[in-house]
C-alpha cells in the first residue's frame, strides 16, 4: 500500500476542488425533496395548471411517510445514480487517456493504494450525498406527512449505502478495465439493466444486490424477511470486494495503456 496517504490526499483534493463534495450532495438533496413536495401539492399543482373539471376529486391514495422515502430512493436510483456514475466512471480511464496517470504510474506506487484511494473518496462523496438526500426527504416528509422511526430509518440508510458502495466498485472496475466510453456503457448496463431485469423477473429470486434498495424500505415497513436481507447484504459485500480486486488487477494490467 505504498503511497496510500499521498494518493488519498490527491483524490480528496481533486474531489474537493471540483466541488464534488458540494454539488453532488445538493443534487441528492433536491432529489430527496422532490417527491414529498410534489405529492403533497399535487392537487394545488393540478388546479393551478387549470385542467381540473369543476367538482373533480382525484382519488389520491393516503400516503404513509415510508412511501415518500421509497419514492425518493426511486429518484436516487435513477437520476442520482446516473449523475454519480457519470462523474466517477472516468476516474481511472480518463487519467490514463489524457496522460495524467503517467507521472504516477512510473513511480513505485501500489496500484491497490491508487485504486482504494479513489474508492474511498468516492464512497465519502456518496455518503454525504445520500445523507443529504435522506435528510431532505425525511425533513419534508416529517413536516408534511408524519415522522419515521429513527432506528429503522438508519437501517434503511445504511442498507442503501452498501448498495452504493457496490455501484462505485462496479464503476471503478469498469474504468480500470476499459476506455471511458466502453467503461461507461458497461457500468450503466450492469447497474441499470440489472435493475430492470430485477424488476421484471426478480420475483423468482430473493437474493441479489439489485434488491437492496427496496429491501431498505421493507425494513421500515417491517415486512422484511430477515434471512433474505442478510443474504443479499452479504452477497453485495462480497461482489463489492470482488469488483475491487478485479479492478486493482486490471488497473495494473492496463497501466501500459497510458498515454506517454
Amino acid at each position: 500500500m505504498r503511497g496510500f496517504s499521498v494518493l488519498l490526499q490527491k483524490e480528496f483534493r481533486e474531489a474537493w476542488r471540483g466541488w464534488k463534495f458540494l454539488w453532488i450532495p445538493l443534487v441528492f438533496a433536491l432529489l430527496g425533496m422532490n417527491d414529498p413536495l410534489t405529492n403533497y401539492y399535487m392537487m394545488d399543482i393540478l388546479k393551478a395548471v387549470g385542467n381540473v373539471p369543476e367538482g373533480f376529486e382525484m382519488l389520491i391514495p393516503e400516503l404513509m411517510p415510508v412511501d415518500l422515502l421509497q419514492a425518493s430512493i426511486g429518484q436516487f436510483q435513477t437520476i442520482g445514480l446516473l449523475i454519480m456514475m457519470a462523474t466517477f466512471v472516468g476516474s481511472i480511464s480518463k487519467e490514463r487517456a489524457s496522460g495524467m496517470a503517467t507521472l504516477f504510474y512510473i513511480r513505485p506506487i501500489s496500484f491497490s493504494a491508487y485504486f482504494l484511494s479513489k474508492f474511498i473518496v468516492m464512497s465519502t462523496v456518496s455518503f454525504i450525498s445520500i445523507l443529504a438526500g435522506f435528510t431532505a426527504s425525511v425533513y419534508y416528509t416529517s413536516i408534511l406527512y408524519g415522522t419515521l422511526d429513527i432506528g429503522s430509518l438508519l437501517a434503511s440508510f445504511f442498507t442503501y449505502y452498501i448498495w452504493l458502495l457496490f455501484v462505485i466498485a462496479v464503476a471503478l472496475m469498469m474504468s480500470a478495465s476499459f476506455k471511458t466510453v466502453i467503461a461507461t456503457t458497461c457500468a450503466f448496463t450492469l447497474i441499470f439493466l440489472g435493475q430492470i431485469v430485477d424488476m421484471i423477473v426478480g420475483i423468482f429470486w430473493t437474493v441479489s444486490p439489485w434488491k437492496l434498495a427496496s429491501y431498505g424500505t421493507l425494513l421500515i415497513r417491517g415486512t422484511m424477511d430477515m434471512s433474505d436481507y442478510w443474504w443479499s447484504l452479504s452477497t453485495t459485500a462480497i461482489c463489492t470486494i470482488i469488483c475491487i480486486s478485479i479492478g486493482i488487477v486490471m488497473m495494473k494490467r492496463n497501466a501500459s495503456m497510458v498515454k506517454i
Partner: protein, 67 residues
Amino acid sequence: MMEELAKVPWAVIAPLIVVQLILMIVALVDLRKIHATNGPKILWVFIIIFANLIGSIAYFIVGRRQS
C-alpha cells in the same frame, strides 16, 4: 404585505431556495475561477442563471474541463 409573507410556508420553501441558490452561486464562482470550459464561458453563465437547477448541474457534469 407582511401578512402575506407570513402566510408563505417558509419551512417548506426555504430549504429549496437555499439549495438552489448555493448550487447556482458555487457554479458561478467556479466558472469565474476556472481556466477553460467546454464551450464559451458566457454561454455557461446564461445556462446557470436561467436554467438554474438543471443548468448548474449540467455545468458541473459537462461544463468544467480538466485538461
